[in-house]
Symmetry: C2
């Protein structure tokens, strides 16, 4: 034991002191509220899974991005979850044919990446996952996009701040095929294109060449990625813009109607530069980005119709998304929207001030206990001082709604109750306090 | 990639399908509510820490109980957090002299143990931690006990179900010293006595002998552990019962008054058989157990006045406790109190039923969107059927408060709203729906 030794937090990990925690709780409340309004039910899974749950889809290459381990003396490989979707698919597969369809689930797991931490990308983050299993049509894609937008609106972000960029694996594949990517390398091409902005252009061109993309094709990709068509212009226009057959954008044309029914067209762009890196997407894919383009994606998702069967379950269509708390938190702070978290934080209903008389001291804790038992958030000073002014400043400092003063009136069984917002103050019997506080809370 | 392969959840880990999640959310709500009523603020820390944060206090022996790992290509040892207190102490130490005192924090981390899973003890569990830093007196110990009891009462557990067993390291040390344990082996003796019920008695006796406890002393320990004195009898009676000097129970005598002021004496027993295994406790220690004695401890805590300075911070008194969700969940199920979680689960405010007419179909999603934007939890069928009876059954099945029927009246701009609890049904303009649902919710 070495007393006095100091310890550091691991790199890329976060401490949440009360103020940081208020922001996380504020974000989580918006996530939960948006999910529930749309009829999704909350689930969760283990923080670590068997390693092969992640390698089976992605190959051993993913191992270097995972925190993996064995139990001392054990021989089973585990890994901290880097994403929630494999857990979701495992849970859905385990339900098998008994699962009610559609199943609409959300979760808010902590996820882990064994990478060098960067701005907006830490080794641990909390990610909201929303998934709809059993619905094959674009109405489900529109619904999960609506859930994401509802949460962002609850947090104060408008379509001036963030926009949805929508693409489709089929359309993107048709484009990449036309640029020279063979079908069997399509998944690798998606992964590479997804990382385009995150590597030096020389490295990108070298890797692209290996997938059949020559320099003119890479230039063409850059042009495609720079082309965003407002969704209000109609998905059919994508085909014309990029020289694709209309069949390649048929799903998006249908999606357009479902977005319009939800009033979302104004919030969306068609953007075939979005492909998503993960191999399991099969149709519509989308990301939400800040309009200024200063950050990584706020959210990303799409359709993955083969996922549940890949994990041993029945053949079920599915779509969903993930939204992390790191980029979102940065954006809220940048836009001045993080202060709302403080306003939403728990406020004391009453701060009890004691005059220091024997009577007041004897009443203080039993009264606090009784009010707490009635559901109120009650505080009082823990300092030795019974200076009334200092206690009143402490009450203001913690943003209490009321101050209750145990003073000389206590000899008649009365106390002074002051509403700190209105300044209203009155003397009333102790027995009336709970009702008085409750009534003014309901105002 | 191996389609169709099935995957297992790791041993000792849990999937939370919606019903299990409702119970966990119900428990967490009670934890959070009890914390807030008493003025504690929520914090969190990283899911893994540097390994030496755990070995510095407990020695390398603890490594076999931890899930530890390095990043691929890295050389830093990490460990999944087995308890939250070291993180709390690290965070408090990092604040140093700038920390407001007292600091009252709570957290609800996932914790990990690399042990063989047993009933009530899994490899991952969620644990509520409540800590009060900066208050040296027994009023703080009484307050954290009160927080724990408030949460259990909110969940429906009474003192017929669970009781607090209170002890004191000083009193227990005086007893163990009298039985032959030398001062320098006292920490080891606490650890061993804490595990007494969890190992074969032969093994216990062998280990006890190494700490200076012979067979008669072990018998005496058994007698002590079997002696619980109702707290209403007064802490002074502990000294008489166990032949201790009154100075050894002075803290408990003071604690008694603070428990009495909170109306908690009826819920507590003095029990010097409680020592807590962890080396960092310095004074009062306590556990909450089910009265029937069928389970491990529901909660455990105490005073650890040297902890913050051990982690490089200032010398600060502190006390607190942890309460896990596993034993508590078992207990709630056993007592028939888990059903309350279902009742507290989110219910749809309205389920929209469509007659299937073009008009109804066109209105369905925009109406759902508008109601959701107004804060309501809205559902409708995702099935192809527009059979009214089947849709009504689906509405009842998900426990909706209201059904809104888009029928023939829609041609006049009207809809039918039915309250499923009262059976009241009326036809009203579409524009009045939000107000009507909101009003009846407030009833």
């Amino acid at each position: 034991m070495s007393p006095g030794r100091s310890f550091q937090r691991p790199k890329g990990m976060r401490d949440f002191l009360p103020e940081a925690m208020m922001l996380r709780s504020h974000i989580e409340s918006a996530w939960r509220e948006a999910s529930i309004r749309h009829g999704f039910e909350e689930i969760d899974g283990p923080t670590f899974e068997h390693l092969d749950l992640y390698t089976v889809k992605s190959g051993d290459g993913i191992v270097s991005e995972l925190f993996s381990f064995q139990r001392a003396g054990g021989n089973t490989d585990f890994a901290l979850r880097p994403e929630f979707t494999p857990t979701l698919a495992r849970m859905a597969a385990a339900q098998g044919r008994s699962m009610a369809l559609p199943t609409k689930w959300f979760a808010m797991p902590d996820l882990f990446r064994a990478e060098r931490p960067q701005k907006g990308r830490l080794r641990e983050h909390r990610q909201w996952n929303v998934d709809c299993i059993g619905l094959p049509g674009p109405d489900a894609d529109a619904e999960v996009i609506a859930v994401a937008i509802t949460a962002l609106r609850l947090l104060g972000l408008t379509s001036d701040d963030v926009r949805v960029r929508i693409s489709h694996r089929g359309a993107a594949a048709a484009l990449l095929e036309a640029l020279g990517v063979p079908a069997h390398q399509m998944d690798d091409a998606f992964t590479l294109v997804d990382r385009r902005g995150k590597m030096p252009s020389q490295e990108f061109q070298a890797q692209a060449a290996g997938l059949g993309l020559d320099a003119p094709a890479v230039q063409r990709l850059d042009d495609i990625a720079a082309t965003r068509i407002p969704a209000t212009q109609g998905a059919a226009s994508i085909a014309g813009t990029h020289g694709l057959p209309e069949s390649a954008v048929a799903d998006l044309v249908e999606l357009e109607g479902h977005l319009a029914a939800r009033g979302l067209l104004d919030a969306c762009d068609w953007d075939l530069g979005i492909v998503r890196g993960l191999a399991y997407y099969t149709g519509t894919v989308w990301e939400i980005h800040d309009v200024a383009g200063d950050h990584r994606a706020v959210a990303g998702g799409g359709r993955y119709d083969q996922l549940v069967s890949l994990f041993g379950g029945p053949d079920l269509p599915a779509c969903g998304f993930g939204m992390g708390d790191v980029v979102l938190g940065l954006l809220l702070q940048e836009k001045g929207l993080a202060d709302a978290a403080m306003a939403a934080a728990p406020r004391p209903d009453v701060f009890i001030v004691s005059s220091g008389s024997d009577e007041a001291e004897a009443r203080l804790v039993p009264l606090a206990t009784s009010l707490r038992d009635n559901g109120f958030h009650v505080r009082h000073t823990h300092k030795a001082t019974r200076n009334i002014g200092k206690q009143l400043r402490e009450a203001s400092g913690c943003n209490a709604r009321h101050v209750l003063i145990l003073g000389d009136e206590l000899q008649q069984g009365d106390v002074t109750l002051k509403n700190l917002a209105t300044g209203d103050q009155s003397i009333m019997p102790l027995a009336d306090i709970a009702v008085a506080i409750g009534r003014s809370d309901a105002d």
